[in-house]
Symmetry: C2
Subunit: 336 residues, 2 copies
């Protein structure tokens, strides 16, 4: 285990100063002659030099680490999203420190503290529901924080989200126009603001069509296929007039379809099912799932663009972006 070469070693080999090596390393244009530059590059090659981010961060007070703090890693929607965000960040030369709060405010705060200890350049945060602006104030001035998916109650933070209300409204309206009169809403937890937005779309679509919605058709369930399946099973094991399900998430919809098929009901023609998220598997399911999608890579790009903009202009007022969903009408809702 020989010691790692340093800029000093490289400088000695190339017969230049450490400052010159540093200039080459950070690609400072014009500061170094082509010839010197090449000699330095040769030295780096010859000595198998590896840049030390730690030292650079300490000296320049500027790391290239982005903290990514999310509340859940068991839902494929979130994991697809962090995979894309990660890829975007790498493209821009950043490294990602990952942390999962498991919907626990205390862990989230301790992870934010961790990011501070590591001098994270910025934090991308999908906050727990209890999070308020005050919880973030402690870090915000040191590391800009971009929130996504889940809004905190205030406008003091950059935020990138989805037009939950509109998408749910559109989905429900279409089902009503197709003749459905008993439409259940399935999924989400009581604390979820997203759920409230989607549920409101569902309610308003009813009211605007002159139909009274039924509170007994609204169900909570965890964000998993099995939870969706179990909830749907309970619903249809007894007689019910329900003819369609607006599911809070695609995973819940998958579970719902599984339960319906198990009960021998035809999804699409007999019972319509819709989802939310646009997971990769939605299209290839049998029947293919109607779902409200914001393309995950588009979403990830927006988040990282917002991050870059914020780094460039720390003093700009916070920005709120709502991305519009595209609804893919597929066989699970069997439209005429």
């Amino acid at each position: 285990m020989t010691k790692r070469a340093t800029v000093a070693d490289v400088a000695a080999w190339a017969k230049v100063s450490t400052a010159t090596v540093s200039n080459v390393l950070s690609n400072r244009s014009g500061r170094v002659s082509t010839k010197t530059r090449q000699r330095v590059l040769d030295a780096i090659e010859a000595l198998d030099y590896t840049y030390n981010e730690t030292a650079a961060t300490l000296r320049s007070n500027k790391s290239n680490i982005i903290g990514l703090v999310i509340h859940d890693l068991s839902n494929p929607y979130y994991t697809e999203l962090i995979a894309k965000i990660n890829r975007e960040l790498v493209k821009h030369g950043f490294a990602t420190i990952l942390a999962c709060s498991d919907e626990n405010l205390e862990s989230q705060q301790s992870y934010l503290h961790l990011m501070k200890r590591h001098n994270a350049l910025a934090v991308l945060l999908c906050p727990t529901w209890e999070t308020t602006a005050e919880h973030l104030n402690a870090w915000r001035d040191l590391s800009p924080t971009i929130t996504f998916l889940r809004p905190i109650g205030s406008h003091e933070c950059d935020f990138i989200g989805i037009d939950n209300y509109q998408a749910a409204y559109d989905l429900t309206t279409r089902l009503i126009n197709d003749g459905h009169r008993h439409i259940a809403f399935i999924g989400g937890s009581q604390h979820s603001r997203l759920r409230r937005q989607r549920l409101q779309g569902w309610k308003d679509a009813h009211e605007d069509a002159g139909i009274t919605w039924n509170d007994a058709y609204v169900y909570y369930c965890a964000s998993s296929m099995s939870a969706g399946a179990e909830t749907t099973m309970r619903l249809f094991q007894q007689d019910t007039p329900i003819t369609s399900l607006v599911c809070y998430q695609d995973v819940v919809a998958f579970g719902a379809m599984n339960a319906l098929q198990y009960l021998g009901k035809k999804v699409g023609s007999e019972i319509a099912v819709t989802g939310f998220d646009g997971l990769n598997d939605a299209k290839g399911w049998f029947p293919s799932l109607t779902t409200a999608e914001v393309q995950i890579n588009v979403f990830a790009e927006h988040i990282v663009e917002r991050l870059l903009a914020r780094l460039n202009k720390p003093e700009d007022p916070p920005s709120v972006t709502l991305l519009h969903s595209h609804i893919h009408w597929r066989n699970s809702s069997n439209h005429k």
Copy 2:
């Protein structure tokens, strides 16, 4: 944005030296009197001091960052696993830099390089199939590397894996004993060594039972529910004598069950389906999925334990651990 307090500031406030502050910070037992210690803690509180990991890493040449490099973040099995590993690492005071190679050797190598730049204390790696021992030699002496799930061809690296052969053998044998004679094997890619192990178990179970296995019953498919569904659909759209499916992964099994139900076949009684992984959703599916499981949190614990052991004894010979699967016999394979 006032400047962050440093040990020097804390020392000044508490009227002690920086060395004493450092001793308090690193909890060096007995080096500091209770009284002094408390004054330092008060100073930390009063100045809102935050430890600077970067400076500590530079000075001590020992970071608390663990690199986690994985080949895929779209399969729930892997995401559940990294979630658990992440949690374990946090417990031990580590931070995780995450990277996803997307089954691309070049990206993997560049991520390993990234970990080196950041002075990662160690790397946990689920390698791409092309990875050989040579690819890892460049880092191994600097940062110990623990491989998991996928073996590289040599024994130069710590490895934690699963007894793929045995589990597949047991699953298939049970199906044969239940009377199945036409058992398909579905899923996995051609490069996958895991798949080869599981397939070998499938083959040997046939041979040991005196049954000739049929190459036409072996199918490749991508690791997703839709791919599993599509493959199964193609299989059963025509007449086939197949009565059971040994699926390479749970996600493939979910897709297979979806296709079968869509075709009106009863999973369990008519067609038996088995999976591999023990995903959370396997139990709550309708019908519940028979699957070979190594509990993901147990797996994660083993990986992190191995990591700690390696950090304690860098010179110990590499160790290979194979974890035994437990097969959950459930309704999807409807045994008598």
